[in-house]
Symmetry: C2
Subunit: 325 residues, 2 copies
């Protein structure tokens, strides 16, 4: 049974890949992401098979994170950017991470509507991913879904996240290049300082550049960015002006993305970032695997230790020592 | 050296405790929290000694979390609530968790000013704690500082956190009773739904109840709370009206806190919550201890594995398996 499933996974990966002798099947890509999303956790055999089968093919895509507060025009910008990237012949995979509603827990429908613009284009794959609760964190399966698209041979993997809570910080950890989108009329200056976006952007784009206040947003943002000190040779994030609706400035955004990618490669930052990301990913998986192990095998032991701590018999440090042996 | 420090820690705990033969020294309390805050991490011998020395005395304090968006009047409410609790003879420890500025990383000075009102009262101890970065998460040392105040014999430990990002969710995990503070004129209805506060409050208090719109905030909040389903016998969070500035409604807030505490005890929820909290604390410490171990002893190994993953030789799951052996 496991052997049969292994063969299926390998076949799916072959079907999903694009290139000579490989069909680049959107259905196979969709199926792989579903397998990864439906996996029960780190111990899932299917998840492990998918990841193992993909691993020779990953590391080529430019992973771009696009984040910004609700209302800045992320959907329109994503769609316009996809069109721009397609014009230069790039295959683009999009993961749209929607915040869960606190009541429904489900993903919003917005991107399904957007999808229609690129629905007939085989060089574009768009997928909606649920987020992890009300703080908008990325779901556990986001890095795995990126890996599927990367392994399938997409040149660019674009992850669109709503900048509320922690998703914007998480995406900066996963992406090669993080684009922070702003817009006039939203008190952006203060928002920027508050939400910590000054630390995460490789590129800033002020959307709705035709509106009042856009120039001021750019000016304020530049002043704030100038306050931070950056070492010699470091990347200095540009602050672009775009109007996604009319596609003004999208060519410059695409060029800036290329420029950042080139800088990442030349400076060695790409290798360093990806090694750090791999470290964090390995650690996170190892920790999740240990947690799962404690909860299954040692559940009674953990309950006993918790009762001892709650009752003042043991302190939590001594209890942790006993747990890890 | 270690033996000498152990004796010091035990002496400090004895000096910090309040009761017959125990001076309840604020200096000793301050010193213990500093030891805990300055500890280098889970491996810190001092931290472990402090926790071990406190463990027979903890579990008696009523741990109350007070959270709300900036501007709702948390500082004024904390101060008024402390005064109210003092009138019924309770000793109160306050931990004020301030958000770090993204540039300075330091705590704000607000609570040092507030402190002056209770500065001469030996039954009140107020301490400012730094938060963990721009998302306002609680610092690693917050649960330990709560444990110090609990072990020192404070009847109530009040943790005041700014409701931005994750601190409000974290405090709900640490507190026996979580109070969510709101105020009119801040679009609270929408804010409440967005920020997920509907899930975390045991009590809601609408401050500035004398202002326009306060009644509407209460009404809206009640409607939203009514949308969620709660099992039979579950606690139904009251929505109180207070004006902290003039101390109106503070007696009712104190009474509601007492009522929740009584419900926690009678229903068995207190034991269940504290056992769950102890479980999470033990797990978190065990995980941190393992991470620290990997980073010190196995740093080269983790780097090797990360390089293999980044280079497509290994997938992160296989790498994690190798790490945990």
């Amino acid at each position: 049974m496991s052997a049969r499933r292994s063969i299926e996974v390998v076949d799916l990966v072959e079907a999903a890949r694009e290139g000579p002798g490989h069909p680049g099947s959107a259905r196979a890509v969709a199926r792989l992401i579903s397998l990864v999303e439906d996996a029960s956790g780190v111990a899932s055999q299917t998840l492990r098979e998918v990841m193992a089968a993909l691993s020779p093919y990953v590391g080529h895509a430019h992973v771009i994170g696009l984040t910004g507060a609700p209302g800045v025009g992320k959907s329109t910008t994503t769609s316009a950017l996809v069109r721009e990237l397609r014009q230069s012949g790039k295959r683009v995979g999009v993961l749209a991470v929607d915040p869960s509603s606190p009541f429904s827990g489900g993903a919003l429908l917005g991107d399904r509507i957007r999808m229609t613009e690129h629905a007939s284009d085989p060089g574009v794959y768009i997928r909606s991913m649920a987020s992890r609760g009300h703080l908008g964190g990325l779901s556990w399966s986001t890095p795995q879904a990126i890996r599927v698209l990367d392994g399938a041979g997409f040149d660019v993997v674009l992850v669109e996240t709503v900048g509320v809570g922690q998703s914007e910080v998480e995406i900066a950890g996963l992406a090669d290049t993080t684009v922070v989108l702003l817009a006039p009329g939203m008190g952006d200056g203060i928002q920027a300082a508050k939400a910590g976006i000054l630390e995460i952007g490789d590129l800033y784009a002020v959307n709705k550049a035709d509106r009042d206040g856009a120039a001021k947003v750019r000016r304020d943002l530049r002043s704030m960015l100038a306050l931070g000190t950056r070492p010699e040779g470091a990347w200095r994030p540009p602050v672009l002006a775009i109007t996604a609706q009319s596609r003004d400035g999208l060519d410059e955004l695409a060029a800036a993305l290329e420029k950042h990618r080139a800088w990442l490669e030349e400076s060695g930052a790409l290798t360093a970032r990806r090694a750090r990301r791999a470290r964090e990913e390995i650690e996170a998986i190892a920790v999740a695997a240990l947690r799962a192990r404690w909860q299954v095998q040692g559940s009674d032991r953990l309950d006993e230790l918790a009762a001892a701590v709650a009752g003042g018999v043991l302190d939590p440090y001594a209890a942790a020592d006993e747990l890890i042996g």
